[in-house]
Each structure stands twice: as structure tokens, then as C-alpha cells.
Amino acid sequence: MPTLEIANLEVVYHSVVRVLSGISLVVPEGSIVALLGPNGAGKTTTLRAITGLLPLHDGEVVRGSIQLDDNSLVNLEADAIVRSGLAQVLEGRRVLVDLSVEENLLAGAWSLNRSQASDRVDHFCARFPILGERRHHLAGYLSGGEQQMVAIARALMPQPEIVLLDEPSLGLAPRIVDEVVKLIREIRESGVSVLLVEQNASMALDLADAGYVLENGRIVASGTAEELRGDADIREFYLGLGSTGSRGYRDVKHYRRKRRWLS
């Protein structure tokens, strides 16, 4: 199992908009790493940089490195990156609505031969009986939770070594989020590392071994999940566990403290 390591990564869109200003993070083999941060911080951009999706958005890595063990992923084509063992579940599920559940899974099986692909489809239909039942239905008619299962299963089809999940809990009911959490644990137990992007920090820090907080394109805090859960600012801003419970002086003070991180 390989280690994914990003160092001093800078990304710009349209040659002018700088969105990541030198971030570094490591996903050690077999671990779950959380990448937290508010909307617009650059989390999705980080994942796009790793999986070669920036060109589609007219974005570009201008500095820094992305290494999978000794191999650089910068400037590789997306399909080559998938072949090297990475998989990404895009933000917002993005099932192929006009394809059946089975065809959605098969779309993730480009690198497999016919019998491997159908074995994997059977595997996921058994793991998610509801998908098995709906195997030949259009994926567009599934519920949000079911669509998320399709999106994750589809990415797991070629048995990747590292999975990047972009806000898998977004817009899902709490009961379904629990399902997703269970699934992420399963993924890790099967030896696959996970880079988990979330705004739901409490969920992510429960799952993760380590975490990073991204704001305005910079890493402003990092540590083990334990340390981050204990950090006063994280508790306040991301876990909603502020000791005063109301917006007031302390918020401002924390905000100042955070500004210091940023500068």
C-alpha cells in the first residue's frame, strides 16, 4: 500500500486565480485522513490536483509535488492516475442518471476484463442489497443515499489503494450518514487508505486518524484526530462546541487567533 504525499502545492485557475498557496499533507498507507475547511477553502481543488481533473476546469499545478510513493502524479492524465491505484468520489454523488445502476458500476471498470467486472458488480450488489434489487433501474431514480452508495461502489470497482471522498455526507439524512461512516470504516479495514474531505468535522474527526484544516488555500491547522478534537478553535468553528455557545467576544477573540494562523 502506497503513501500519498503532497508538498507545497500551488494551484491556479485560468492562469490567474490562485486557489491553493503551498499546501502540504500526507496520507500514510492504511489510514484515514480528514481534510476539513469551509466552503471555498480549496478542498475540492486539492482533490482535482491529485486526480488530474484540473485541466477540465482550466486549472493548473504551478508549483509543488504530488507523490504516490516514488511516482509523481503531477501532469499525468486522469486515467493513468486511476490505473496507479487512486480513486475519487466527486462531490455531490454525480451518478450517471441515464445509466442503470449496473452500468454505473461498469463505468468504473474500464481497467477490468469482462469477468472481473461482473464479479465486482455481483460483489457490490451483495454488499448493498438495495442496489442489487435495483440493478437494472436507472440510477437517476435512486434516493440520495442509494446514489451515494453507487458513487462509492463505482469508484471502488477497480480495487484502488487510496480513495478520495469529497463531502460524502453532504445533503444526506443522519441515518444515511451513519451508513456512509460504516462504509468508510469498511474501506479502511480492507487496507485501503482514505482522504476524506468534509465540512461535517465531527463525523470526519470521529473516523480519521489525522486531519488537516484548510482555509483560503492554506493549511491552518493539522494533527492527529485526537489533537484536532481538543483544539479550542476547531471545537468552536468546526464542531460547534464553543464553551459560551453564543456569538460574542470569544468568537471575535478566536477569530483573531485564527487570523494569526493565517498571516
Binding site: 486526480t51 488530474g52 481533473l53 485541466p55 477540465l56 482550466d58 492524465e77 486522469a78 486515467d79 492516475i81 486511476v82 490505473r83 480513486a87 475519487q88 468520489v89 466527486l90 454525480r94 450517471l96 442518471v97 441515464d98 445509466l99 452500468e103 461498469l106 463505468a107 468504473g108 471498470a109 474500464w110 481497467s111 469482462r114 467486472a117 463505482r154 469508484a155 470497482m157 477497480p158
Partner: protein, 298 residues
């Protein structure tokens, strides 16, 4: 009665040819939102290739197969060299480029084949007919119908049952998802252009038998297949095929039953008739018979 049957068969044959050309447009458009205005040149190229290969002594069937493959490769080459670098550019850039490709191909074909008319080889006697009930049916028409049905059937098997087919549909549905799943989207684009080229060649070969002759202007039929694309819905393969066949039939029925009543003025009314249907559709149902509502018209 025999007149009607004859018209229907000719109409279905013409419709099958429209369907092949129109399907080529749609296959490319669905995958990459590129509207290929050079499709007509592929039709002419395939037909001229067929004439030349057959003249070189290749058996008919082998010449058909090779013409399709070569035209397909020409399509894939155009995609790889000229269009791939433009992925992600605005639609009008690719439209202008494909118009330019069309002009380039016409110039190239003029140099290679000149302007003279050539006869399209057929494995049967050119004007052979079979008697069905009391109607005389052209073998050429029956051949075009059968080939159209076979190829369209194969196409639907390809996109439903094969890995490349699923990849094509995934790419059409959401390109970023396809990329994120490791589908080599560039190769998928290449495959759609190959397919469009091969379909165009086949259309050109049967069109050339009709019993018209072949020259570089054969490609203008692509303009006549255009209404099928609009009526069927730009992003619906099935809709386009149905529309192509329907318009072919309507065109010949119009020629048989409406033209004669229009006197001198109506001699060629059937040729513009599909455009009337198209305009009607643009007014009442702009996304076509089966297209999705959000498709923008180009």
C-alpha cells in the same frame, strides 16, 4: 397499391441512409458536444474510396469493409489532430473548425478524385428488381434497408453491451465522472469519430447506388440528414434513427403524392419537405422527439 409499396420501400431505404448519417452526428455530439459539419465529406470520402477500392479489384464486401474502416480512421485522425487540442473550448470554435475540416477534405478529394462522375459498384445487377405482390422493388433499396437495420442493431448492441459503449455513454452523461473513473475520454472521443466515419461511409456507398452516380458532392446528403438530427433530438440516438427513417419515407411519399399536384413549381418539393417538418419541430418541440429539454440548439 403497388405504387405505394414501391414508394414505401424506397422511402425506408432513403430513411435508413439518413439515419446512418444522422446517427454519426449524434454519436459525436453526445460524447463531446461537437457538431461535426464535415460529416457530409465523410459520406463522399467513403463512397469514393469504395469506387476506387473496387476498381483495384477488391471483392465487393471487402471493399465495403475497408472503405468503412478507412473513413473511420480518417474521422479518428481529424479528432486526434485537430479537435483533441480544443477540448473544453467554446462550441463555436469547434463548429468553425469542423466546417474548415469539411472544406479541407473537399479540396483533398477534388485533387485525388477530380470532378467526374463514377458508378457505384453493386454485387447485384445495378437496376435489379424483385417482384413482391405486384410491385417491382429495387434490390438496391432492399439492400440499403437491410444494411441499415443490421448496422443500427449492431450500434445499439455496441453501446449497451460493450466496455467502449458504456464508456461512451458515461462520457456523454458526465465527462468529469468518466475522467474520475479512469475512462480514457480522449480515446472515447476518437472512437465516436471512428464510428461516425464508418457510418458515413456506409451511407455513402448505398446512397451512391441510388441509382445516382458518385462524385465529391455526394456529401450534400448530410444537409438532408440534418432535419433528422433536429427532429430526433440532438442527443438521442434512437430518436434520430426513427426521425431519419420517418423523414425518408415522408420525403418519398411527398414526391409520389404531393409533388404531382404542385405542377411545375412542385417538381422538387419533396427535397425541401423534411425542412418544413424540421421547422415545425423547432417551433413546437425544439428538443426533438426524444431529446432532452435542456439541450441547447446550436
Amino acid at each position: 397499391m403497388s405504387g405505394l409499396l414501391q414508394l414505401l420501400v424506397s422511402g425506408l431505404a432513403l430513411g435508413a441512409i439518413y439515419a446512418l448519417v444522422a446517427l454519426g452526428f449524434v454519436v459525436i455530439y453526445r460524447a463531446s458536444q461537437v457538431f461535426n459539419f464535415a460529416q457530409g465529406e465523410f459520406v463522399a470520402f467513403g463512397a469514393l474510396m469504395m469506387v476506387s477500392l473496387h476498381a483495384e479489384g477488391l471483392p465487393w464486401l471487402a471493399a465495403v469493409a475497408l472503405s468503412c474502416v478507412l473513413t473511420g480512421l480518417l474521422g479518428a485522425l481529424v479528432e486526434r489532430v485537430l479537435l483533441r487540442p480544443l477540448v473544453g473550448r467554446p462550441v463555436f470554435v469547434t463548429i468553425i473548425l469542423t466546417i474548415f475540416v469539411g472544406a479541407l477534405l473537399r479540396a483533398g478529394m477534388t485533387i485525388a478524385w477530380g470532378h467526374e462522375l463514377r458508378g457505384m459498384p453493386t454485387p447485384w445487377d445495378t437496376m435489379a428488381e424483385v417482384q413482391v405482390l405486384d410491385a417491382q422493388l429495387l434490390v438496391n433499396s432492399l439492400g440499403a434497408m437491410a444494411t441499415g437495420a443490421l448496422v443500427l442493431g449492431l450500434y445499439f448492441v455496441l453501446i449497451r453491451r460493450t466496455r467502449m459503449g458504456v464508456a461512451m455513454r458515461a462520457t456523454a452523461s458526465d465527462q468529469e465522472v468518466a475522467l474520475a473513473l479512469g475512462i480514457p475520454v480522449g480515446r472515447v472521443f476518437g472512437a465516436t469519430w471512428f464510428l461516425a466515419g464508418a457510418l458515413a461511409a456506409l451511407a455513402g456507398i448505398f446512397l451512391g447506388m441510388y441509382p445516382r452516380n458518385v462524385d465529391i458532392h455526394l456529401g450534400f446528403v448530410a444537409l438532408r440528414a440534418f432535419p433528422a438530427v433536429i427532429v430526433g433530438g440532438l442527443d438521442s440516438a434512437m430518436g434520430t434513427v426513427i426521425a431519419g427513417i420517418l423523414l425518408g419515407v415522408l420525403e418519398l411519399l411527398c414526391q409520389g403524392y404531393i409533388n404531382p399536384h404542385l405542377g411545375e413549381f412542385g417538381k422538387n418539393f419533396h427535397a425541401v419537405f423534411p425542412y418544413f417538418v424540421m421547422i415545425l419541430f423547432l417551433m413546437v418541440r425544439p428538443y426533438g422527439l426524444f431529446g432532452s429539454r435542456e439541450v441547447e440548439r446550436v
